[in-house]
Amino acid sequence: MAQVQDIEIPDSAARAAAAVEEAQDIQGEKMVLNMGPSHPATHGVLRIVLELDGEVITKADPDVGYLHRGDEKIAENMTYTQFIPYTDRLDYLAPLANNVAYALAVEKLLGIHDNLPPRCQYIRVMCAELARISAHLLGLGAFAMDTGAVTVFLLTFTEREKIYNLAEAASGARLTTSYTRIGGLMRDVPPTWCDQVRQFLKEFAVALDEANTLLTRNRIWVDRLRDLAVVSKEMAIDYGLSGPNLRGSGVEFDLRKNQPYLCYKDLDFDVALGSVGDCYDRYLVRMEEMKQSMRILEQCCNKIPGGGENKSHEPVSIQDGKITLPTKEKVLTSMEELIHQFMLVTEGVNCPPGEVYFGHENPKGELGFYINSKGGGTPYRLKIRAPSFVNLSILGELLPGCMISDVPVVLGSLDFVMGESDR
C-alpha cells in the first residue's frame, strides 16, 4: 500500500532569513589574539595583535618598540668613534657588517670613503660577507625550527660558531666586535686568518649542501612555504623592502652592485633573485646569497693586498693624524702625535659640517646612516635607517588571509631582528 507523506515547503523569505542566521552562526565572533612580545616564533620582542576568524587572520597589527634604547639620541651625545660599540647592538646577528656600515657613513662625511687602503677594504668586505653568512644561517636555522625542522638549526649553529671564532681572531670579541674605526680598522687580522677563512669555507660548503638537501626539496618545507605571503614587485618597492626580501620579489637591486662601495666592483658575484615573491623565494634567495658570499670570500682570500700574512706591511688604516690614532710608540716619543692622540680621544674626529646618507647592503637589507653634522666630533643628528623596521611594516598587509600556523613561517621568511628594528 502506498504511503502518502506531506512535504513541507517553507516560504522563500523564511528560508532566506534562516540561511542568514545560519551563516552568521558559522562566521561566529572574531577573536583577538595577542602574539608576543615574548613568543619563541617572534624572534625577539615583536608583538602582533591578530584578529582571527577561526584560524584565519583577518587583521594584523604589529607593535614594535619593546627593545627601544634610544640609540639615535645616544649618538648625539658622544663622539663618532664612541658610537661604534652601539652599532654592534643594532643587528646583533651581524655586528661586523654594522661596524663596516657605520664607519663608511662617517668616512663619507669626511670625504675619505674612496681613499681607504686596499687591504682595509678587502678585510671589511670579508667581515661583511662573514656577517652575512652568519646572519643568514641564524635566520635559516630559526626559520626551519619554527617550521618543525630542528636538525637544520643544529647544523647552522655549528657553522655560526666557526664564524664567531673568526670574528674573535680578528677583533678579540665574538659578538661585540667593534672592529672598524673611522678611517680603517682597529688592527690587522692575524697572519693565519685568511687560512682559517679558507678552512671554514671548505667545511661550510659541506654543511650548506646538507641544509640544502634537508630543506630545498623537502615536501613539507615546500608545501608550507610556497605561495605563502606573496609580495609582488610593486608592493615590495612601495613598502620599501630591502635586501633579500626585495630581491625575493624579483627586484634586481643590490647596493653592492648598484652603488658599489669598498672593493665590490673588483669582485665577481651574482645577485640572487626570486620570481614569485613568496616565502620559498625569499628562502632560496638567502641560500644563494650564502653561496655568493662564499665566492666573494674565496676571491678576497686570494686577492687581499699583502696576502694573508701581510709581509709587505700594507696599512689597514688611513695615514692621517687627524683621523686615525697614531701608534703607541709614536705617542710616547713624538710631540705632534701626542697632540693628535689627545685631540682625537677628547674631541673626536673633526668632521666638516654637512649631511650625508650612506646605505650599506646588510644581511637584513639596507642599513642606512643619515648623519647631519654641524662640524666637530659629534653628530648633530644621526638617523639609522633600520632594514628590519621597514621590512616589518609590511606585516599588516601580508598576514591577513593567512592561517595562524603560517605566522611563524612568514616571520621567519622576512628574517628581521628586533635590536635593529627598535634601535
Partner: protein
C-alpha cells in the same frame, strides 16, 4: 639622467618654491620652501621622474632656530639608481605637514616614528600613533630640549603600577625576614589601598605572634 638633472626638473616645475640644488659628497639635496607642497613635489618625483623607492624619512631639531624642524626625505629610483634628498622646514607653532603615505606606503611607519620621536604631525595620516615609545608617553625624546637621562613624568611607569594579583600572600620563606612587598620596592601601594589591604590581612586571621615573622606581611603602618 643624473640626480642633478632630476633636481633641476623639479625646480623647473615648481619654480621659486624650490631652492637651488646643493651637492655634498656626490649627494643632491633640494630644499622646499613651503612644507605644504611636499606632497605635490613627492608625487611629481615619483610619477614623472621615477623615484619609486622611499628610502627613509628623518627629522632634525634645529633647537633655538626658527623654523625649528627640518623633515628630510630620501628618494631613490630603483631602475635608474638615482638618489635625491628633499628637505623642508616646519615651524614649531605649526608642527604639521602633509603625509606622503598615499605616494609610498612605506611612509606609514617612518611618519609614525617622526611623530613619536619629534612630535611633528602628518596631516592625512590615517593612523598617527606612537610606534617606539608606548601609548600615552608624554614627551618626544629626540627633541634637543629632552635630556639624555630622560624626564620623570606624572604618568605611572609601564610596569608595576598595580599590586600583583598574588599581593599579600605569604611568600616569605625566611622566618622573621622582610616580606615580599618590602623586598620589592617597585611595587607601589597607593595610600588608599592600604586600608583595604590591612583589612584583608586582618581577615586572614593571622595570629599576632606569627604575623610578620614566619609568614605573611604584617599590617602596613600608617604614617
Amino acid at each position: 639622467m643624473s640626480a642633478l638633472e632630476s633636481a633641476n626638473k623639479i625646480k623647473a616645475k615648481f619654480g621659486a618654491l624650490i631652492a637651488e640644488p646643493t651637492e655634498f659628497r656626490g649627494e643632491i639635496s633640494l630644499k622646499i620652501a613651503d612644507a605644504e607642497q611636499i606632497f605635490e613635489v613627492c608625487n611629481f618625483a615619483k610619477r614623472q621622474l621615477g623615484f619609486d623607492f622611499l628610502v627613509d624619512i628623518s627629522s632634525v631639531d634645529n633647537y633655538g632656530e626658527d623654523p625649528r624642524w627640518t623633515v628630510v626625505y630620501h628618494l631613490r629610483g630603483i631602475a635608474s639608481g638615482e638618489e635625491l634628498r628633499l628637505k623642508t622646514d616646519v615651524s614649531e607653532e605649526k608642527s604639521e605637514l602633509p603625509s606622503v603615505l598615499p605616494i609610498w606606503r612605506t611612509a606609514n611607519w617612518h611618519e609614525r616614528e617622526v611623530y613619536d620621536m619629534m612630535g611633528i604631525r602628518f596631516s592625512g595620516h590615517p593612523d598617527l600613533r606612537r610606534i617606539l615609545m608606548w601609548e600615552g608617553y608624554p614627551y618626544h625624546p629626540l627633541r634637543k630640549d629632552f635630556p639624555l637621562a630622560g624626564k620623570p613624568s606624572d604618568l605611572p611607569g609601564v610596569a608595576f603600577t598595580q599590586i600583583s594579583p598574588m599581593e599579600g600572600g605569604p611568600f616569605v620563606t625566611i622566618a622573621g625576614g622582610n616580606d615580599s612587598i618590602a623586598r620589592e620596592p617597585r611595587v607601589r601601594i597607593p595610600e588608599t589601598d592600604s586600608v583595604e589591604f590591612n583589612a584583608r590581612v586582618e581577615a586572614r586571621g593571622d595570629n599576632k605572634e606569627a604575623r610578620g615573622q614566619a609568614f605573611g606581611p604584617g599590617p602596613i603602618e600608617k604614617k
